[in-house]
């Protein structure tokens, strides 16, 4: 037995899970001691990615969250509103506009109906516009919320609100809260992975940050150019065996130091170097989709070597398959202030097929039941016309918009809430972003009121002081 193993053994198992101050990475030490990864209870404030039991039996284990950055128009995808089509071009009735603030609309705006055909699908009869023919085949898997509403109507604050429950910087994201609450099953991969197509969203890296939670819970971006994880590759000229010899020497010297100094932090460091070395193999293996069968590529529309949403959807499946807890995809390009009809058609062509394929693929593999798939955005778009009719667009709309969930214990085919005849305000079952977050956590077996972190003297939570679980959404 090496000196550091001896030193590490002297530490009792109990303190591994209790000594969770900044820096004592308990999983690493646990694995060093050969401890089985049996789920520890959710300790007061964990600081590692070790698997933890949820508050109650979960319906979903993992999450794939598809954030359409910029805000797709719910009125052209999910919400057929005959009255809006009928009154297209009419001035918006005054009663809707009282006290309303808009990002861009000025004066007295006109109504804008959709150009697209809507049809009902599946047993549930869920309505989709013609732009989502593939997704429509999953009508009975999807739970559509029609009345989500948020507090912000500018992109960056609303994006922060949608991901952190707070419209300014500084709070942990949903993904960070989730890995904080549950840890992650695969210790050779990050627990919270982010992938991006198009420009990075306006609020930047904070959309996958850990806020005041320890930084181990922040999302790790798998980049589409260069190293998928920053600093993953060895410097040019250093081959794998050379790296192995270096890691071994580092750990040997660290072990000597551990025996001399006794600080368990050194034991953690040793195991982190081992994990880093393993990640150098596991991440490239994960990212290489070229070995997937042709059938899978045909289903998703993936193109190995390219950067596109389809590839990211397939990677999301590969990640949850390997035990990554939370996968977040951002896709930019949905901010249609002008030419909403043609732009939306183009964007839907990019995401409809791979999104539907992801659901089918998860289902075929028996993963959909335990994987919660979420599709949504920071807000929706107005039933009001922006710009002239020839280049019709829609402004930001925060009072009612659509998101959907599938798998992971969600009630397939359900519709939550209803909006008025213009799709402007909820008239039934309004769902606030806090409620939405509470529901997602609930499906993961976490009580949003108990998933807290004490910071600056206050027990913070994702849902701040709000949040009611949307029971109707749960299957």
């Amino acid at each position: 037995m090496t000196p550091y193993e001896e030193a590490a053994q002297a530490l009792s198992r109990r303190e591994l899970f209790q000594n969770v101050s900044a820096g004592i990475g308990s999983i690493a030490l646990a694995s060093l001691l050969g401890a089985e990864g049996g789920a520890a209870p959710l300790a007061s404030q964990p600081t590692s990615l070790a698997v933890r039991s949820p508050h109650f039996a979960p319906r979903a284990k993992n999450v794939i969250f598809l954030h359409m950055v910029g805000a797709p128009s719910q009125l052209d995808l999910f919400e057929a509103k005959p009255a809006l089509i009928k009154n297209d071009g009419q001035l918006c009735p005054d009663e809707y506009l009282e006290g309303q603030r808009f990002a861009f609309l000025r004066g007295h705006p006109k109504l804008l109906g959709t150009e697209f055909k809507f049809t009902q699908h599946g047993q549930s009869g869920l309505e989709f516009s013609e732009l989502l023919p593939n997704l429509a085949t999953h009508a009975d898997d999807i739970c559509l919320i029609k009345t989500l509403h948020t507090d912000h109507f500018n992109h960056a604050p609303a994006q922060l609100f949608f991901q952190t429950g707070f419209g300014r910087f500084g709070r942990p994201t949903l993904g960070a809260w989730t890995t904080y609450g549950l840890g992650s099953e695969n210790q050779d991969l990050p627990g919270f992975v982010v992938m991006i197509t198009g420009q990075v969203a306006g609020a930047g890296n904070s959309l996958w940050g850990s806020g005041f939670l320890p930084t181990v819970f922040q999302g790790i971006e798998f980049r589409s150019q260069g190293d998928p994880v920053l600093f993953l590759s060895n410097p040019s000229g250093l081959e794998v065996p050379g790296r192995k010899r270096i890691v071994d020497a580092i750990n040997q010297l660290n072990g000597t130091q551990l025996a001399d100094v006794g600080d368990p932090e050194i034991a953690t460091r040793i195991s982190q170097y081992e994990m880093a070395y393993r990640m150098q193999a596991s991440v490239p293996e994960l990212m290489d989709i070229s070995q997937e069968p042709a059938r899978v590529h045909a289903m998703y529309g993936t193109q190995p070597g390219q950067v596109n949403f389809a590839n990211n959807c397939l990677l999301a499946r590969r990640l949850v398959e390997r035990g990554t807890r939370f996968v977040q995809l951002f896709d930019q390009g949905w901010d249609h202030h002008g030419s909403v009809f043609s732009s939306l058609r183009n964007k839907c062509k990019q995401v409809d097929q791979p999104t539907a394929a992801l659901l089918s693929d998860l289902k075929e593999r028996g993963l959909l039941d335990e994987t919660l798939v979420v599709w949504g955005s920071e807000f929706g778009r107005t039933p009001l016309l922006q710009s002239d009719r020839a280049k019709a667009g829609r402004d930001h709309h925060k009072d009612a918009y659509c998101v959907w969930m599938a798998g992971g214990g969600v009630k397939g085919g359900a519709t939550i809430g209803a909006t008025d005849e213009l799709g402007y305000f909820p008239v039934e079952d309004a769902v606030h972003v806090n409620d939405f977050h509470a529901t997602l956590l609930h499906l993961l077996g976490l009580d949003h009121r108990r998933l807290t972190y004490k910071f600056q003297g206050r027990q913070y939570r994702l849902t701040d002081v709000g949040g009611e679980v949307v029971q109707k959404a749960i299957g």
């Binding site: 530490l11 600093f231 880093a276």
Partner: protein
Amino acid sequence: MHRTPLPSLLVATALSAVGWLVENPLYCRAAEAQAARETAVDFVRDIQPILADRCHACHGEDAQEGQLRLDARAIVLHGGVSGPALVQGDSERSLLLQRVTSSDDDLRMPPDDEPLTAEQVELLRRWIAAGAPWPAGAGPDIQPQETHWAYLPPQRPALPRVQDPSWVRTPIDAFILRKLDSAGLRPAPRAERARLLRRLSLDLIGIPPTVAEVDAFLADDRPDAYDRVVDRLLASPQYGVRWARPWLDAARYADSNGYQADQYRNVWPYRDWVIRAMNDDMPFDQFTLEQLAGDLLPAATISQKIATGFARLTTCNVEAGVDPEENRVNQIIDRVNTTGTVWLGTTMECAQCHNHKYDPFTQQDYYQLFAYFNNTPLEVEGNGVTYNFVGPKMDLPLAADQQAQREELIARRRQLTTVRDAAIEKRLSGDAMQRWEQAVASARATAPTWHVMEIESFTSSGGASHAILEDQSVLVGGPSPDKDTYTVVVKSGVSGITGFKLETLTDPSLPGGGPGRHSDQRPNFVLNEFTAQSVQADTQTSSPQPILLRGAQADFSQARFDVGGAIDGDPKTAWAINPEFGKSHAATFLTRQPLTAGADSRFVFTLDQRHGGGRTIGRLRLAALTGQPATDMIPAAIAKILDVPQEQRTAQQANQLRDHFTGLDPDVAAVDAQLATLKKQIDAITPITTLVMVEQQQVRESAIFRRGDFLQRGRSVQMQTPATLPALGEEPTGDRRELARWLVDQRNPLTARVAVNRWWAGIFGRGIVGTIEDFGTQGDRPTHPELLDWLATELVARHWSMKHIHRLIVSSNCYQQSSKGTPAMFAEDPYNQLYARGPRFRLPAETVRDNALAVAGLLSHTLDGPPVFPPQPAGVWRHVGRNAPKYATSQGDDRVRRGIYVIWRRSAPYPSFTNFDAPDRASCVVNRPRTNTPLQALTLMNDEAYVEMAISLAQVIAGRKDLTSEERIVDAFRRAVSRLPTDAEVRVLADVYDRERSRYEQSPAAAEKLVGKQPAGVNTTEIAAWFFVANILLNLDETITKG
């Protein structure tokens, strides 16, 4: 604004004595007792309804404004922040009665409401006079809470007695040892000297000691050797760099706006100000005052104004469609919250929406603090489409080299002005001006006429063919060269020419009908340059004279291809006509002066068409203008003067005319052009700007925002400090100065404690109060309350000197203990809260890098200046919104400057810093987490920046040719961690070196691939083998740890 100083809770001990007296019925005045007996007031029937109706909303179960509730007897008697609400038996001295009857609207209760009726007041008066009888069971039985420790002023404690006084090196040790004594523990022995020096150096300047410094310290056996090092390090300019870093986290210092566009902003002079202030040991009270209110100080200096950048470091959202006022309000909220965290160790933000649940801060307190910062202008300006970050900026004085350059340019300008004067004098000599005026007059007298000019010859440099048509137009045909220059020679036929016309004509033979030759769909042409020269008929041999053209006009110019581009001498600009194809067009050009050429003169025109794609003219014709020139040849104002007879012109008109005439002189024009360039250069030497605070002239009215929503304005509020803390003693100034002075008033129980605790945490890794951001009731209690108070009072007593406190801490025996422990010790006290060992923890992100640079022999000690851009992976800075900044990696010194100078872009901070727990600086952080992750391992092993450092360290090691390879390993090891390696450690590294050396000797190409081409005389395989050793050393836990 002025608050009557009232007895506060903070003198609670004194008050309780008074309380005993007033509660004693014997103390009642006899007369009042008599009156009370006459008509008994019944509390439940007469008084409770008044209190419930008029008072309980703010002083009851739901709200306890001023920590007072009037529904519970014990609390009424104990009182709130203003003291006991009543004095039994003495209504006149009872605050309750004083406040309901006050004639001062600001004081009278209930606020903003009808006063109590005379009848109600009388009932209260009689009830109090009767001794304020309050039957048991009326109202809730709630006892006043003890004041939370942090809101009581620190008391200077006596030094505790300890078992081993010889261990007490500074007073700190007494407090530490006392607690160890009671835990039955002994302090650890003193750390080994080399490790201790490294710890001290990293703590005070953030840079490890050099091997020479270690040797000097080991050899110094004077009793004050350690103190001498402390002195040296405290005096180092690198001290400020080390200690500014945590302050910049708190101040959320960054070089970009954050949010959607995240543009660069210039505020780094503030960062340098902080470093300088710390190096100067600016007293913390002054440090506070200058940052919060430097702009308001009398005769504020530039430095004091720079300091106010502190408040301007808030993020700013300039995405399209943002509400500027909402943005401004968010910034002020951030200022209030940051002030609360940094100085008061208090989470103010709870009170943004409602009274603080746990701590005695009300929503009113919050918006009263808000009012201090509210008098600021909007920082976002937009036109509905584009929004920009604006707000007060200040120009700094120019740097010396800029100043010198500017002066040089000004001297040059002075010199050129003299040249110009001479040219003007020459121009005006004789009757030149008179003759000019006559020529102009005669030209103006003739009606303008166009004369088509006869083509003498036409050549195409690109080899196109041509035909001269009857109308004297040239029709180009044949091959269509990619680029072409036409040279056209014409006979003028007329004299007194004032301009030329170039017609581009359509023709059925041209693609798309012309006039250009590009394509059927787009028969465009691009005329890059059009020049004219004159050839005198009588002097065939003389060279052609260029004719200066001006005033280009065309019937149509394509967007961004204005006809003016054809005569500006710049071949990049040109005239073109998309999309007006299939139509003839014409461009006219004026000569500077009427041409005096004769009838037989010839003109040579060149038409440079170098755009490419065959965009050349298909058919053209040239004409000359005689007679009155177009208006812009003789500007309207000049023409007007010319119409005035000479003798009747005013002096001003005469001057204007003379200036116009002299301006036509080529020499004068040349000097004018130079002067214009100079002006641009002088203007380009712009001072550095920095963001500052400025008060608006017009005062904004502040109000409570209901539920924190800025659109829901409630009751108005004035600037005021929180009621639960002692009021400011001095005369209030009604602005931010007042807030700053109140924060550092020695009666403020929080500021000094919060400050010393933060410094302590910077050295020991954890505060005496563990929650360094929260001293409230939900925060941790101090592990050593007396030590905290001793340090806080010491800080104030020593004129708020940070260096004094730092010296005390690092001089203590507590600090100098060895950080080694047994696993049992680490298990027993994982946070080292008893201080039975020295501090040991991983370095902060910037120090990890600074330390490695120093070990590698690369670290630059340069201070100040704009941010630097060390190597980072490609693609980290991405296009965000409309902002696509380039990361231009620094070379030379800037590549290896200390981490504090690295550009801080909020949406994408320097990635290796992020991996070591640096925040994004979007909001105030006083407590960085300290994690231990595989990403950190990957960073140190593979980041290009660290690979560079490893190569550099390898070169340093290889360069020690005076040493054996084992000695070199010892030396390199000492560079990394200061101490001597054990034999076993040397053996590990020596084995690595030997093994890699022999591997690379087998394949030298692999060595070069790893470490690059080495300078002549350097053995590449040796460097590659040392690279392994260097990479290992830079990755050791001990290297990135202060221990």
